[in-house]
Symmetry: C2
Subunit: 185 residues, 2 copies
């Protein structure tokens, strides 16, 4: 039953965001009694942290570590996979981390800490790839890999914000062009 | 009374976002009877569009058109003013456009259209400045000013998403460094 709740919450948090997704929506979606929720989770907040961990496992970080692929090709594959996920949902769901940061980080410290950790882990993985590309002489070393990684991660999150308004791929196109042709040079 | 409602809504939408801010919260905050709301606005959605227009007037677009200032200095002043606003609110409120795009664009077409228009107007203003900088030979012409403008606008929105998780200025710092030292070269 716990697994049913987590799976339903993953779907509903992603679809509706944190604030608009209540415990009843989650238990209805999981087809379990609302009362059973608190046998498994202390709070909606505690469940949201479990969902964030699970969401993190789907963020295609494996593509940043593909053997025998050049660093920037790996980075491109990573963002292409993320873009495809967004497109597959008709640009309607966004990123759970970005959604939670925007909606809930202000008033729920545990959510803010969870988003912060998720972004830090992600930025560290991107930074390692950029450092490799710098060592290969492909990316300028005038900027630290950490600054470039944080900038790109945020630019990606912002491209999603843009796409949710336009749903036409224009923000993703600008991201790929400027990130790979200008920033990572 | 209409003006009281708009001012209260501006504050409450900015503070709580779209979904968590109901009509009663707005009328309570405006110190007007809840029943009076619908004498002035057809819906919460209609009021949100008025608030978006008003918010747009505060987005420091005037700094993009300061006479006798170099294009990139104007662009920097613009983003610095936006950053200061966010810092002044303790990184807790974000951008109304970005918040609405993330929270409400999916299920409310009028909000999505409003955000899209706001981002388009903003991108156009940034693009004009970048074009000037390109004409002056300061920014590379390998990318169109529109693509660079859209990329920077989204990167800014994403930097806000990042700051709401960390509240330490690190995402803004990465934005200013990479935007002005790498992207706009």
């Amino acid at each position: 039953m716990r697994e049913q709740i987590v799976e339903a919450a993953f779907e509903q948090f992603h679809r509706h965001g944190y604030n608009a997704c209540g415990v009843k929506l989650i238990t209805d979606s999981a087809k379990v009694p609302k009362g059973s929720f608190y046998n498994h989770f202390e709070s909606k907040e505690a469940l949201a942290l479990v969902v964030m961990d699970r969401y993190g496992e789907t963020r295609h970080l494996d593509k940043l570590a593909t053997p025998k692929t050049a660093p920037l090709a790996r980075l491109r594959h990573h963002f292409e996979a993320l873009a495809q996920d967004i497109v597959d949902f008709g640009y309607e769901r966004g990123c759970v981390f970005g959604n939670f940061s925007t909606e809930a980080a202000d008033h729920i410290p545990a959510i803010r800490a969870g988003v912060r950790t998720a972004f830090d882990l992600w930025a560290t993985a991107i930074s390692a790839v950029i450092r490799e590309a710098q060592d290969d002489g492909i990316v300028t070393t005038t900027q630290s890999p950490d600054a470039l990684a944080r900038f790109l991660l945020n630019s990606w999150e912002g491209a999603i914000v843009g796409e949710r308004a336009t749903k036409d791929g224009s923000s993703f196109a600008a991201f790929f062009t400027v990130a790979f042709e200008v920033v990572l040079r």
